[in-house]
């Protein structure tokens, strides 16, 4: 377990900014004590410093997880967000999409979102911006990348893809073993 290097921090934050933009500050300066990002086995964990210090007792190979896992660095040093980060992404999200109940199930099985399944979309979502997907009763379902901007969405066919699937809470069941 070690802090992120400068390079890693840059890659990681670049990714995070796509989803929560300026709100990234809120994650770092928190009113309830200092929080930090820690790297263990290529995974990035977001955890309060108090807990992080106590976890220092645990040997690296025995440490499985601490706090919240945000994602992992791939072998080619790109960063992949995991669905486990959803708890921190959802409240600060900038782009949001709401799915109709019929499309909910589709998305939870790992499919992209069609225009026909789109219930609502927040204003000013750019193309290829990260969006958080909600069900119509505001349950965060996962996140993805907008395939079209808000204005393009209005004029597209029902069959066109409006959001590329990246991660969804169905993974808790589908791929429990590879979650982190």
């Amino acid at each position: 377990m070690r802090p992120l290097t400068e390079e890693e921090t840059r890659i990681f934050f670049e990714k995070l900014v796509k989803y929560i933009g300026e709100n990234i500050k809120i994650l770092i300066d928190r009113p309830d004590g200092p929080y930090c990002f820690r790297l263990n086995k290529e995974r990035v964990f977001y955890v309060s410093e108090e807990i992080m210090k106590k976890a220092g007792n645990v040997a690296r190979e025995n440490l499985v997880s601490l706090g919240t896992c945000m994602g992992k660095f791939t072998k080619s040093k790109k960063f992949r967000l995991h669905v486990t980060a959803l708890d921190y992404l959802a409240p600060y999200a900038q782009g949001k999409m709401w799915l109709k109940p019929s499309a909910e199930q589709q998305f939870l099985y790992g499919h992209n979102v069609m225009k026909s399944g789109l219930g609502r979309i927040s204003e000013s979502v750019d193309r290829y911006q990260g969006v958080i997907l909600y069900s119509m009763n505001d349950l965060p379902l996962g996140f993805g990348t907008a395939a079209k901007s808000t204005s393009d969405c209005r004029h597209s066919d029902p069959g066109t893809i409006v959001c590329f699937h990246q991660s969804d809470i169905g993974e808790y069941i589908r791929s429990e073993d590879t979650l982190t």
Partner: protein
């Protein structure tokens, strides 16, 4: 203002109109004559209905069932035997009109009469002597007749199936026996008073159809007496259970084995009267053991242990309960939502559910569901966790506070750990340890799904955890065990677990509990508590382990804070445990409708490790034997260490 009505509740004058569904109470024979038989029956009834009283307070709700039959039967039972005999004579304050009306009504509609009588005479509960009863009965003859008619349908039933009784009168349900007795007595009375003047006068007044009914009554009374006598002789024949010979024991089919189990149990419960001459108790128990193993598919060792733990009445209940799955229960994740919201969301998906019981504010029982409960969007969003009701108990007993340092030593798959985190409201630190790395992965998923953020998940051998970290405020040790309490989940346990497995588990558990105690901090302001739990019902894995911990470390047992459950054993099979072991709690499938479980709560009161006096003595003895210097050195070292620690 203008109200003059008296709103105060009037005291009830008797059972309500609908409270009574059985024929009027029986006239018991004089105590001496029927005494023995009655006692026997009562004992049997007791043994049949033995259920811990906690059943009503704790445990999981059973799904609503249609119980027409059983409930009426029960009432029959209770009514005929336990209800005090009511005066069957009009009180002075009851108008004479009532009395005059009676005879008419009886012939026409005996059922109605019963109910009426109930209302008007219900307030007299004082017991009467037989003589006075008889005297009064001579005035009240028609009531006796009413008995006859109301009894007739049951008698007809009986006529149809005497074959069953021929074989096993032992099984005859108590209600039937009572009825029988009742009818007998009423029949006698009928014949005694048949010639009374009252009756004759009445008969002249009767309408034709009433006369008819009176006649049929008489006929049925005759029939009854005959069948009565027949039954009696049959009963005497098959009262005793015949001990089978070796061929019969092996060759019996399942139904026979089941019948035999019941016979042997009833014999063992009343061994003095029912045993066959020359047979010992152990012969009967051996037969029972063999039959139970065959019928339920357990291995002999396990069944032997079960027979030692449970009384005979409980044993069959338990084994039956082990054959059926326990109800599916879920726990609301209070970190993300509330129980009512979860319930609403699930009901809208077509799930039929109910709160689990008064003892838990987060549990729900699922009776039926149109969608898979483990794959709804609510489940994926971490609003609830599928978890047995018994798994709530150790966490509730531990009752972690906010901002504490808590350890769960054997955490996977994380049901109890996430419950701990929810009670801590995501503050403090929760260490979740799981030795098996594959199983630890399920911890990651569940912790993140449920939104637990104060956790550290690690994978150590629990027996060495004190080397990693100490000074916890609370520790939960849900030890790996044989799983004899969750046979309904994993039937493989029945055949596989033998003495060696239990022994191994027990050793492992003893190591774990010592480590868990070492990890605790006795000086903690809020805590210093350890909860030890297993899903086993065997004392070797429960009481014996806790007893071992009590002798090896400075800990004491404290009440678990669970208001139901059976107290643990303070002694078992001649082994005498620490007397405070009755503060531990046991939970059983048959009495609480949850998995078999054991929960003990310990408090650590000193961080020093007591040196066993015996060991020192032994060392001193060997000192005398020769190696004086060496051991003296050892001892001084030990003492020094002790002093330093203190």
């Amino acid at each position: 203002m203008g109200r003059k009505t008296n709103w105060a509740e009037k005291p009830k004058t008797g059972p309500g109109r609908k409270a009574r569904k059985q024929p009027p109470p029986a006239f018991e024979r004089d105590g001496k004559k029927g005494g023995e038989l009655r006692e026997k029956r009562e004992r049997k009834r007791l043994s049949n209905t033995v259920r811990p009283a906690e059943n009503e307070r704790g445990g999981v709700r059973r799904p609503p069932q249609k119980r027409f039959q059983s409930s009426t039967q029960n009432e029959d039972r209770g009514g005929a035997t336990t209800r005090p005999l009511r005066k069957r004579f009009p009180d002075k304050n009851v108008g004479e009109e009532d009395v005059a009306k009676k005879p008419r009504k009886v012939g026409a509609a005996p059922k109605e009469e019963e109910e009426d009588e109930d209302e008007s005479f219900g307030n007299n509960d004082e017991p009467m002597t037989l003589e006075s009863r008889l005297r009064k009965l001579s005035d009240m003859k028609p009531t006796g007749k009413g008995d006859g008619t109301s009894g007739s349908p049951t008698r007809n039933n009986r006529k149809e199936k005497p074959a069953r009784f021929k074989k096993q009168t032992v099984y005859k349900s108590d209600s039937e026996e009572d009825e029988e007795k009742e009818e007998e007595s009423t029949a006698k009375l009928d014949s005694t008073f048949a010639m009374s003047d009252d009756d004759d006068d009445e008969e002249e007044d009767l309408l034709p159809f009433e006369k008819e009914s009176v006649e049929t009554e008489k006929e049925t009374a005759m029939d009854m007496e005959m069948s009565e006598a027949e039954l009696k002789s049959q009963m005497e024949d098959s009262e005793k259970f015949q001990f089978p010979d070796a061929d019969e024991i092996e060759g019996a089919d399942m139904q026979q084995v089941n019948d035999r189990i019941r016979d042997v149990i009833s014999t063992l419960l009343n061994f003095k009267d029912k045993r066959e001459e020359g047979r010992t108790r152990s012969e009967y128990t051996d037969l029972l053991l063999h039959d139970l193993c065959k019928y339920y598919g357990y291995n002999e060792y396990l069944m032997e242990r079960f027979m030692a733990v449970f009384t005979l009445g409980e044993l069959v209940d338990l084994l039956d309960a082990n054959e059926n799955p326990r109800p599916l229960t879920i726990r609301t994740n209070t970190l993300k939502t509330r129980r009512r919201e979860v319930a609403q969301a699930l009901i809208s998906r077509g799930v039929n559910l109910d709160p689990v019981g008064k003892w838990s504010k987060v549990g729900l029982v699922i009776y039926s569901s149109q969608v898979p409960i483990g794959a709804t969007p609510e489940y994926l969003a971490g609003h609830y966790m599928i978890q047995g009701a018994a798994s709530f108990l150790p966490v509730m007993a531990l009752a972690p506070q906010e901002n504490e340092r808590v350890l769960d030593m054997c955490a996977a798959p994380g049901g109890k750990s996430t419950h701990l985190a929810a009670l801590m409201k995501n503050t403090g630190v929760l260490f979740a340890n799981e030795f098996n790395k594959d199983r630890a992965k399920s911890l990651i998923g569940n912790f993140h799904r449920m939104g637990v953020k104060n956790s550290v998940i690690c994978s150590y051998d629990g027996r060495k955890f004190h080397e990693v970290m100490k000074g916890f405020d609370r520790v939960l040790l849900d030890a790996p065990c044989s799983g004899t309490g969750v046979v309904s989940k994993d039937p493989a346990v029945k055949a596989q677990k033998d003495a060696k497995d239990i022994q191994r588990n027990s050793t492992k558990q003893k190591d774990l509990i010592l480590t868990a105690i070492d990890c605790l901090d006795a000086g903690s302001k809020t805590g210093g508590y350890l909860v030890y739990s297993t899903c086993s019902v065997l004392p070797d894995e429960n009481e014996a382990v806790v007893n071992y911990a009590l002798s090896k470390r400075n800990v004491k047992l404290v009440p678990t804070g669970l208001d139901f459950g059976t107290p643990g054993f303070a002694n078992f099979q001649g082994k005498r445990f620490h007397p405070t072991l009755n503060l531990t709690r046991r939970f059983y499938p048959h009495s609480h409708n949850m998995d078999g479980f054991f929960v003990a709560k310990l408090k650590k009161f000193s961080n020093s490790i007591p040196v066993n006096v015996q060991e020192v003595d032994e060392e001193e003895e060997s000192e005398k034997a020769g190696q004086a210097e060496e051991i003296a050195e050892k001892l001084t070292k030990k003492r020094n260490r002790k002093q330093n620690k203190a």
